[in-house]
Symmetry: none
DNA sequence: TAAAAATACTCCATAGGTATTTTAT
DNA sequence: ATAAAATACCTATGGAGTATTTTTA
């Protein structure tokens, strides 16, 4: 068996089309077709159900594709190891981050990271948590900022910081002049929240439950900025993570009484990552940068 | 990079001797020597510290050896997966079946199938015909029980059996004591039928046309059991497939004069299915089970 | 000087390309 | 009729063999 064959198989599983897969692998369609056939012959099983209109992966094929992906990640890790053996601070670092954190955290830390790890090329992927976890497992990114707790056993995490949530209200609101929000202030009140799929939505919902507050039923925002504008327009109030609390006309941010609601942010990477050592250093740098700037 | 190269590297790390390692890999010493050099060149780092008396693995070499071992294990796992997938009588078989057949046919055949194909895990999906065909094409199920005729060219079918329709009437009905239903008996009569989307509805409608019978306009049942209860309650009469004709209080089932109305049931799978052979055997088993039990 | 790795060279298996055919919708 | 996969055939890369040389404890 050959690593290339596995690449071909994985590409085929991804594109479900011999021509497209071949193109992605920079070989001709017959070349890929032949190698897949050889692989099937070698393994003695059908991996693919072919017709001219559809390419389906068989059940056993799917299992093998998963393994193959893993193997390709490991092979990539070998290259990574070699690169970082040449210079641990050189190469690429692809980091995922979710949308309710990205625009507020990145401006804080990226300058410091770029300065400290000047030979490293940073690539950023902004996606919702579920996508990030998939991409991590698939080896498409090296690490991701995620909110704890995390149930993934194959991921290593370092805790970076806890971010407090403040209550965002219109300046005209009765709570706008409060120094602190008490438990009872929000009882039976309605909050504007984000749409499904944002991890922050879940965190906010669980905090709502504690406070016996509820969600406004007829509206869900697609981003924190939308949410901020809704609040500024006087439509309602919401929870806002501290880094996102830039002062704005018509807006007041008020801290909660302890226990304050917060989200716990970590950096996560595959247990098997070749960049373990580097990622630990990156984590340390983030921690200290956030500490001095927050 | 090549899996063989990794084997060579791991063997060398184990034996710390090019000649011995080469022997273990069933190649000549120069062959192994060359490939290790090529690997070092590819990765751009020294993996081995050579002298004629000692072979030492460098620090980065050691890390890579560990990875390589892991990769070789994974590759072995792929072979293992393939080996266990080879037994066509093991694994999963996902079969779709439509709701007017499922509860009557399955109790007949599933015990026999489970006994005959004991290493196979059967999964059943009960959905209307249109859904089943979609799921088949998408590769979500391996096969489906469907009523003939079938317009799908990409599906292979084996005819399993023909199932006769009987007339179900309340015992108080004028036809309840008839031995046989003649063509003219139903002329201009009204029948209770199933709701849209059931293939049996279409079959019944087409038979109604032949007999110049019509459908009761103000009611459509959602299942055969509802239909049976409606008839038992004296609301009207309907067609009932033979397997569903369990005797019930207040109900009589009467056969039709030839040509009897019937539905033709087949097992269908993708022309490209990897389980062709198995499915043919399953079909045979179903045919003989139905024959002996019907 | 002796054991072991590296080099030189030759061969051939096979991956991969282009052109074409087959297949299924 | 058409899109897509399979086949045929050719080329060339590179893996592996044997014979030999170089290296260094």
């Amino acid at each position: 068996m050959n690593i290339k064959d596995l690449k071909y198989l994985v590409a085929l599983a991804e594109h479900k089309h011999f021509g497209k897969a071949a193109e992605k692998c920079f070989v001709s369609q017959p070349a890929l077709s032949m190698q897949i056939q050889k692989l099937e012959e070698l393994l003695g099983i059908k991996l693919i159900e072919r017709s001219n209109k559809s390419v389906l992966i068989t059940e056993s094929g799917l299992n093998i594709v998963k393994r193959a992906q893993d193997i390709l990640n490991q092979v990539e890790a070998v290259h990574e190891l070699a690169r970082s053996a040449k210079d641990p601070y050189a190469g690429e670092l692809k980091i995922g981050i979710f949308p309710t954190l990205a625009p507020y955290l990145l401006p804080l830390i990226i300058p410091a990271l770029v300065k400290k790890f000047s030979k490293l090329s940073f690539y950023l992927l902004e996606e919702k948590t579920a996508v990030l976890i998939d991409q991590l497992k698939l080896g498409k990114i090296h690490a991701a900022f995620l909110a704890l707790p995390l149930a993934e056993k194959q991921l290593t995490t370092t805790h970076l910081f806890d971010e407090e949530f403040l209550l965002a209200v219109p300046k005209t609101h009765e709570l706008a002049k409060a120094k602190i929000i008490m438990q009872k202030d929000l009882e039976n009140k309605k909050l504007l929240l984000l749409e499904e799929g944002h991890c922050m939505r879940e965190q906010a919902l669980s905090f709502c439950q504690q406070l016996q507050a509820t969600e406004t039923q007829d509206f869900r925002a697609t981003s924190l900025e939308t949410l901020r504008h809704m609040v500024a327009a006087g439509v309602g109030m919401t929870l806002m993570p501290k880094f996102a609390c830039h002062s704005a006309k018509n807006l007041a941010y008020i801290p909660f009484q302890s226990p304050k609601p917060l989200r716990s942010i970590c950096l996560a990477w595959r247990n098997t990552s070749a960049k373990q050592a580097l990622l630990n250093e990156v984590s340390q740098e983030i921690i200290s940068t956030v500490k001095t700037n927050a």
